[in-house]
């Protein structure tokens, strides 16, 4: 398992570290993601956010991988990958709106190729193959990245997509976040396989296993995979070994299916504190500079929250918008029905 910094923040020497500026940027992005996750819980309890799948503890897996993309690349996130979408540039206000189920969160920004979070499991993998193939056909160097979990990697779409991407040489990067749990089912129940990155071999493509709580390592291996794809050398599967510290969603009670023994040791592997220790050790960050960074992150979030609060509620007839480019006669009649019942 590839690792650049150990849980205590010391450098392993397994490879070259990114420059200091990049390391600080990754720390900033992880803090933005963690802040969203922590505030998300509070907002949910206040009734200001819908049911939301937390990702705290998986920031290195999401930020390090998404940070390896450029703004012209594609990102296909699952419902747990809010941190990845924020890193690519999905605005916080729009992300809040998404988890509030406001239409303002569903209309993805024009300047990004990020898709709404995928609810069905594994279906995004073939989509990434298609988007990647389209970029290749159009002669660009853009790539497509898709996320999945250990549970999702049991789905047929996961395997079909890896095979298609290999057979068609699609410039894809497949991220498999192995966080140990598919709701209540542990990976050992999910599969007899213990190293999920080796599944790539069956499809003739490279597979990489990386410490998913080491953001420098996830960034390093993903950047290599992205560059390979840009050079026309095809897809890569990356398994980030991490842990779902949090419940499946804010409405889930993990005490029904897992014990403290299961969670043992993962707090000590915390990805944010790990990079913090490293930055402090290296003299790249001080308590003061970190405090300033945290304040900036909090201010940005609160401003975005105000922006999201100002989005108007949707109107009833909006449920019939955007079904087709031109509504069918049936949809026009159904709209009249909604409007007449509204005014009744």
């Amino acid at each position: 398992m590839f690792q650049l910094i150990a849980p205590d923040g010391t450098v392993t020497g397994a490879g070259e570290l990114p420059d200091p500026e990049t390391r600080l940027r990754l720390y900033h992005q992880m803090r933005r993601a963690r802040h969203f996750d922590e505030r998300g819980w509070v907002l949910y309890r206040q009734g200001r956010l819908g049911v939301f799948p937390p990702f705290g503890g998986m920031e290195a897996s999401q930020v390090g991988t998404a940070a390896a993309l450029s703004a012209d690349d594609w990102l296909f996130p699952t419902y747990r990958d809010t941190g990845a979408a924020l890193t690519l540039g999905l605005p916080i206000a729009r992300t809040l709106a998404y988890w509030r189920t406001s239409p303002h969160g569903w209309s993805m920004p024009e300047n990004l190729k990020v898709l709404p979070f995928y609810i069905p499991i594994a279906t995004q993998y073939p989509h990434a193959v298609g988007a990647a193939l389209a970029e290749k056909r159009k002669g660009t160097k853009n790539v497509a990245m898709a996320y999945i979990g250990d549970g999702g990697s049991s789905e047929g779409d996961f395997h079909e997509a890896l095979n298609f991407a290999g057979a068609l040489d699609a410039p894809c990067v497949f991220i498999l976040q192995n966080n140990g749990w598919a709701i209540s089912v542990p990976t050992r129940t999910q599969t007899k396989a213990t190293n999920l990155s080796r599944r790539a071999e069956g499809y003739g493509i490279p597979g990489v296993r990386v410490d998913g709580n080491d953001v420098l390592a996830t960034y390093h291996v993903t950047r290599e995979a992205v560059e390979r794809a840009r050079r026309g050398e095809g897809p890569t599967l990356i398994e980030t070994v991490t842990y779902r510290v949090k419940p499946h969603t804010v409405a889930d009670d993990p005490s029904r299916y897992r014990t403290d023994a299961d969670n043992e040791g993962w707090d000590a592997k915390d990805p944010v504190l790990r990079l913090k220790a490293h930055l402090m050790n290296e003299g790249l960050m001080t308590e003061d500079s970190e405090a300033a960074l945290l304040k900036e992150v909090a201010d940005e979030f609160e401003a975005a929250l105000q922006e999201a609060d100002a989005y108007p509620d949707p109107q009833p007839a909006e449920i019939l918008d955007h079904v087709f480019a031109e509504p069918t006669p049936q949809l026009r009649r159904q709209r009249e029905q909604i409007l007449s019942e509204e005014n009744a």
Partner: protein, 335 residues
């Protein structure tokens, strides 16, 4: 150019040749059009619908995929998101089922779930229906599943000219279209088909024969069956108006209701299973919108609530024929 425009040059074609012609024109017109699926490239498709296209346009635009329907549709969705016009072939409608997650979860939803930030100008072609003694699972009619899925258009032609005109409209439509091709009609019918870019608009039914006594509503492989029954009825002095829907979504209810108001008697014909079939939607629409014009109950002539039979000797019991349709016409008249 539309169906009503002046027709100039025509060429006699089978339905499969007309489909091939439409695909050829689409590939020629727009570099974004890509055709893919199992055996569509080198071999030109199991029914030869894509014959010669890979040789003409190259293996990047007309290509064979691995054998996996979910990924064929799923990859097409990704291609559509990225601005291409994917035209996927599913080898038989009965092989669509592995891809239904992609169809039901994504194909029809993408415009809606992104508030039109993305849309999917994708076509999925699939041969469907019985009457030619295919092996098990090769004769299914799953169109109601698609028509029941919001955001997907469903097109089922019954003639070579319509196949060409509707397919070119489908490929140029900004939204996903399922295009079902009746296997029975691929080579059994020939007619004059306009040369060049020819379009038949989606959502406009075709009145096949005009009559005052009974309206027979059908599409795809059932149109020729209804025509035979109508010809038999005519000799008995019964005027049958046969309506070929052409597209189930959008549905041309105006043409249906105008005919029903005139005749007051309705027979709906499909070869799909009875319960929950699209014939039921047509029946409910007529009952809701035109019950005061009805002089007889709406009669459905359909397949049965059993899988399409793999028994060649008795296949015709399942798939409606002209005798069954004629019987329904007679029942409507005698009510």
């Amino acid at each position: 150019m539309t169906a009503t425009a002046a027709r100039t040059e025509t060429r006699t074609m089978t339905m499969v040749a007309a489909i091939n012609d439409a695909l050829d024109i689409a590939l020629q017109q727009d570099d974004a059009v890509h055709i893919f699926g199992e055996d569509v490239g080198v071999m030109g498709g199991v029914f030869r619908a894509t014959d010669g296209l890979q040789a003409r346009y190259g293996a990047e635009r007309v290509f064979d995929t691995p054998l996996a329907e979910a990924a064929i549709v799923g990859m097409g969705i990704g291609m559509g998101l990225a601005g291409l016009k994917p035209v996927a072939e599913i080898q038989f409608a009965g092989f669509l089922y592995p891809a239904l997650d992609q169809v039901l979860s994504h194909l029809g939803r993408y415009r809606h779930r992104t508030r039109s930030r993305y849309h999917l100008p994708m076509v999925v072609r699939a041969p469907y229906g019985g009457g030619v003694h295919t092996p098990e699972q090769h004769a299914d009619s799953p169109e109601a599943i698609l028509a029941h899925t919001p955001g997907i258009k469903v097109v089922i032609p019954s003639t070579p000219a319509d196949a060409k005109g509707l397919l070119l409209s489908a490929i140029n439509d900004p939204d996903p279209v399922f295009f079902f091709e009746a296997i029975k009609l691929y080579r059994s019918v020939k007619e004059d088909v306009p040369v060049g870019d020819y379009r038949v608009p989606l959502g406009k039914a075709r009145i096949v024969t005009v009559g005052d006594d009974v309206t027979v509503i059908c599409y795809g492989g059932m149109v020729e069956v209804a025509q035979k029954a109508a010809a038999a009825a005519k000799t008995a002095g019964i005027g049958v108006e046969v309506i070929d829907l052409r597209t189930l979504v959008p549905l041309d209810t105006d043409t249906i209701l105008a005919s029903v108001q005139k005749t007051g008697r309705v027979v709906v014909v499909t070869e799909a299973p009875r319960t929950g079939g699209f014939h039921s939607e047509i029946s409910a629409t007529i009952a809701e919108e035109a019950i005061e014009f009805l002089r007889a109950p709406i009669i459905r002539v359909t397949g049965f609530d059993a899988p399409y039979p793999p028994f060649t000797a008795i296949e015709d019991v399942y798939r409606p024929n002209a005798v069954r349709v004629a019987r329904a016409i007679k029942a409507a008249m005698g009510y």
